[in-house]
Structures are given as structure tokens and as C-alpha cells.
């Protein structure tokens, strides 16, 4: 069976499972929106325009809560399921790709809803033509975070403190994603070009994709 067909099957099952348990949109998303609300209410009185910090808070909350969304499959995997996946002949690269695509789709929806919540809560002054660059930044950041979390989940797999370790691995490596995505709107507001930030996001995504696919088989062998 081809890598792509195995990947799409892994993605399909991940999304079916998510649809049935509803972790992302029924549990994590409401908490993320509450976190945005708390930030908006907790702004010091000296901050003259709460809207100015809205996008920064959005990206912080999106990355932190997005980690939970992207890590949920890796963290819930049992040894029996890993064993059966190997005996089914599931290519670890296909598992990485399938999980990453499923997580990227969920994160894109998650971040889009969170962005709308941020606009309602912080009422920022969005620059003209903000919609498509913001959409693109969300898409690329979601893909990057999904790839990064799936890779971190694979690296931490089987370890006792894997949940904490995976989060620790993700946090520093997510910096280019946060910087690139948050600077898209900032640059637009300052009438500067956004291409460099989009390229940063694309480069980070590609690097994570290559690392994830390339490391998946050695990581599986190392787990034996």
C-alpha cells in the first residue's frame, strides 16, 4: 500500500475519532476562548488601547492551547496500538504525515474560531486587506505546529514523562512559527512587506516536514 494511501487512512481515522470525542472544539476551544477573555479583562488600566495587544495574545493562546490539540493523539496512544500499527505494516512516515495533516486541519479550524473570538473581545484595528494574509498565516502556523507536535510526540513516545517532555520540546521550536505568524499583521499595519514572514513560516514547515518524515523510520527502529 502506498505511503499516501496509508497517510490518508491515518488522517481519516484521526478525524473520525476527533469528531466522535470532540476534544478540540468542545473542550480545548472553549478553554482557549476563556483564556482570551481573562487576558482582555486583566489588562492594566494604563493600557490605552487593548486592541493593540489582541493579536499578540491571540498567537500566544493559539500556540499554547494548540499544542494540546496537536499532541492529543500521540499522548493517548497505547503500546498495544503501536504494536498493531507495526504489525499492520503501517509506514511510520505515513503515520507521521497522516497525523500531521489531521492535526493541521483541526488547528486551522481551531485558530480561525479563536481569531474571531479575539476580534470580538479585543476589537483590534485590523489593517486593510488583513483577511487573506491572516488566513495564510493561520494555515501555515497550524501546519507547522501540527508537524512539530507530531514529531515531538514521536520523539517522546514511550517515555514516562512524555506529555511534559513533548511540550518542552515544542515550546522553543515553535518560536519561528509564533514570530512569523504574529509579524504578518504587524508588518501590514506598518505598511511593510509580509513576504519575509510568510517565507519564514514556509521554510519552518518544510524543515519540520523533512525532519519528521526522515526521522520517523529511525525513531520506530530505536523504539524496538
Amino acid at each position: 500500500m502506498s505511503l499516501w494511501r496509508q497517510s490518508t487512512e491515518v488522517m481519516r481515522v484521526d478525524l473520525v475519532v476527533e469528531q466522535r470525542i470532540g476534544d478540540t472544539f468542545r473542550i480545548v476551544l472553549p478553554f482557549a476562548v476563556v483564556a482570551l477573555m481573562i487576558f482582555s479583562l486583566a489588562m492594566p488600566a494604563g493600557v490605552s488601547d487593548v486592541g493593540d495587544v489582541g493579536t499578540a495574545v491571540f498567537w500566544g493562546v493559539a500556540i499554547l492551547y494548540g499544542m494540546q490539540v496537536a499532541l492529543r493523539t500521540s499522548m493517548s496512544e497505547t503500546e498495544q496500538r503501536k504494536d498493531i500499527a507495526m504489525l499492520l505494516g503501517l509506514d511510520p512516515a505515513a503515520r507521521f504525515l497522516g497525523r500531521s495533516i489531521a492535526a493541521a486541519l483541526l488547528l486551522t479550524g481551531f485558530m480561525a474560531v479563536l481569531f474571531i473570538a479575539m476580534v470580538l473581545l479585543f476589537t483590534p484595528d485590523l489593517p486593510r486587506g488583513w483577511a487573506w494574509p491572516t488566513g495564510l498565516a493561520i494555515l501555515l502556523a497550524a501546519a507547522g505546529l501540527a508537524l512539530l507536535a507530531t514529531l515531538a510526540g514521536e520523539v517522546a513516545s514511550g517515555l514516562r514523562n512524555r506529555s511534559a517532555l513533548a511540550s518542552l520540546l515544542i515550546a522553543p521550536l515553535a518560536i519561528p512559527l509564533v514570530v512569523g505568524a504574529s509579524q504578518v499583521l504587524e508588518s501590514m499595519a506598518g505598511n511593510n512587506g509580509i513576504l519575509i514572514w510568510i517565507l519564514l513560516l514556509i521554510t519552518t514547515d518544510l524543515a519540520l516536514l523533512v525532519a519528521g518524515v526522515g526521522l520517523s523510520r529511525p525513531l520506530e527502529e530505536a523504539s524496538r
Binding site: V13, L87, L88, E221
Partner: protein
Amino acid sequence: MRLDSVGVSLGGVTVLADVSLNLGSGEGIAIVGPNGSGKTTVLRLMATLLRPAYGTGTILGADLAGVVDRSVRTSIGLITHAPALLDELTISENLIHFCRVSGRAEATVPKALSAVGMEKVTDRPAARCSFGMKRRAEIAWLLIAKPRLLLLDEARSGLDAEARILVDSLSRLTRERGGGVVAVSHEEGDLGTDLVAVHRLENGRLGQTS
């Protein structure tokens, strides 16, 4: 399948030491030992899920110490003491998923589920199935997969008489096709009826054969 003085360490602890075993085509062997004696580790080693710390072994022609080809792994059937179905999927969806990932025909799923008496519960989520039902679903999967090496880890324990017969039938069918069967249990009476040799495992070492 052949193991020559194989040892396995997990987390720096020696779990298996100097284990030697041979399994020919159409043969079935049993390994009996108390809890913690290394029975599951032997099966996971044979399933190519673990690498030996020392010694040599070949499983279906593959060197256990090397990178094992996908075609070898898909020829191995393993029933562990905890069923490996996805709780959120139905019984039927689980088997279809297994078929799609392994490249087997998903049209065989209804017939296989019918063969294990599960034709009326195919749409029930695995989370709402009993242990025995999940075990039957795994047997249905192995009827589809037709493994050349069948590994049974306490596969009959906790099952009713009818389901135990299904496990025995699966074992017999595998051997009739020329495959090998290895069953482990902590109770000799729970191994099935048609295994040619019983090995005793204690503290990671194989003892006498009966």
C-alpha cells in the same frame, strides 16, 4: 523461526536470558510461566517488536537484530492480553481500518465477523464491547490476515467456551496453512489442546520441556 541464546534487556534490566527456541512449519509450541517471567517479552521479540540485546534470531527469514521488512511484519499475527482496537470506532470500522492500512480487501470483513459470531454487533463502538467481544473481533481480523506466525498471549483467558474454541480453530487453521503458533500463558490448562511442546519460563530463562 529460530532463537539462539537470545537475551533481551528493557530499561537496563535483563528480562530474557539465553532463550533458545525452534519452531518449524505447521508446528505449535506453548510457553508457561508465572507473572513477570518474561512471556510477553518473548512474544514481542518474536513479533519483531523488540530487538535482542545479544544472541541471534530469525523470524520468517528476517534477522531479528536488523531492520525488519514490512512484508515480514504483516505475516505475523499477535493477540495480546489487552485488545488493541480503537475504542471510538465500531468493530466493523476497526477491521476496515486494519484492512486499509495493511492493504487487504475490506470486503472480507463482514464474512470474518460472521465467522466469529459478531454479525449482529458490527456497528457497536469498541468502547461499548465486552473484553470477549473485542477478542472475537481480533480473531476475525486474524482470519482475514492469515498470518504465517501466530502469537497468542493469554489469548484464551477470560473467554467463554465458544470463544476459546475460536482461538483453538485459529491456531489449527494457521498450522494447517503451514504457519507456526506460539502460545503463552501462566496456566498450562489455558493453552489449548493441540500444541506439540510446552516450555517453562522462569525469571527470563527457559526451563524443561514437556
